[in-house]
Symmetry: C2
Amino acid sequence: MAQKPLLLVCNDDDITAPGIEALVAVAKEFGEVWVVAPNAPQSGTGHAITIGNPIRLYPYHFPVQGVQAYACSGTPVDCVKLATGVVLKRKPTLILSGINHGANTSISVFYSGTMSAAIEGAIEGIPSIGFSLCNYDPAADLSAAKEVVRRLIDTALKHPLPPHTALNVNIPYLPLSEIKGIKITRQAMGRFIEEFEERTDPYGRPYYWLTGKFYSEDNGQDTDIWAIANGYVSVCPVLLDLTHNEMRKQLHSWEKSVL
Amino acid sequence: MAQKPLLLVCNDDDITAPGIEALVAVAKEFGEVWVVAPNAPQSGTGHAITIGNPIRLYPYHFPVQGVQAYACSGTPVDCVKLATGVVLKRKPTLILSGINHGANTSISVFYSGTMSAAIEGAIEGIPSIGFSLCNYDPAADLSAAKEVVRRLIDTALKHPLPPHTALNVNIPYLPLSEIKGIKITRQAMGRFIEEFEERTDPYGRPYYWLTGKFYSEDNGQDTDIWAIANGYVSVCPVLLDLTHNEMRKQLHSWEKSVL
């Protein structure tokens, strides 16, 4: 008899977040589930790894029956590395990250710990999916998102993805009946415009809070931003090669002229 | 009279590292130089930003005359954001990150704070170059690297790069006379194989140190890894769009079948 799929679940909001509980509950319908997730919020940690400090794993009683879990003192990428390198006895069939409380569309893929965990899985040759709900409220209704996750996990297990695949899935905050379907998208180009808030501490010294507003530079109807704004689930496949091939051609003359 | 170029310098090893002092000394030959760099080592922090805590800026007496500098309590990406959002009165002509003590070839571009600072600059529309010397010893001889940096800054100022450009420059650890030239490269595919070292603390509890060995999956002669191994400076342009366009086509059928 074939082994049941092994599903590793991670996130960046921390192991106690409602989003990861929802993801684990759905994942459990499909196979053996292990959770290795941060023991503190790690939003915005991107692809950070912990190299100057040791990392801890704490056994965690996860509130979904039959699921083994560890809370980890490191980043989401550390969690994936420790899960595959120390915790798990076999290679996961699929790595699932999220459900993130908040969108990870456009340029956010660079900053997102949720997506970095999925990208790390893909770097290690394990197909990985990051799920984000486009609502930042931890008390948001996750029922429609759970059904979307269910159908995507089912599809990804029935039609296995190539090993180095990472998918960035963003789910609009709508009742299931109002979600129009799935769009396979590209990353919209855009950036955050920073608005630092300067404050003064009780000792008279300044400190800064990083805030910012997203500014889109891309109105393409094939983008993740467009899909979400128009009621679709966005599925954007992520490439692990950052090379700018077009610019390589433009820079070719440097080979003769610089040194 | 045209304004002098404004060069912003950052790194991830921290503001006291020999690599950033070497980079600033060279940059100073070309214009007005400002430094905003971490006040503690930030290697491996990738594209992390600080959103759960405030960030501090500390005036810093940089050991190159005529250079204004701030040490920053945040990540390399925070440094770039604070520099452009709070510290600088005009947009930098160029952002320079490094010189990193150690290679940032292949998949390291995802983990590297040095390169993430350059990528952040490019996201903000400022041409940016990350420099890494392929030697991890902070006492390494930086003289050949300085000459390479000098020629690349000169070229990038004389032939301005498009605003969203980030270049990943890796410099072999060789005397200048033995460096064969410049190669415009692509990111070699590869990954780190983790080797966690498990130790036990004085209270009997386990903790883990993340270590790992790089494993190349790509022997292409157009890669950054090949260039360095063969005595060339590698210049790899970085794309800010992570979309896997080839896989978009393969996943297209999901639009009809999943939801």
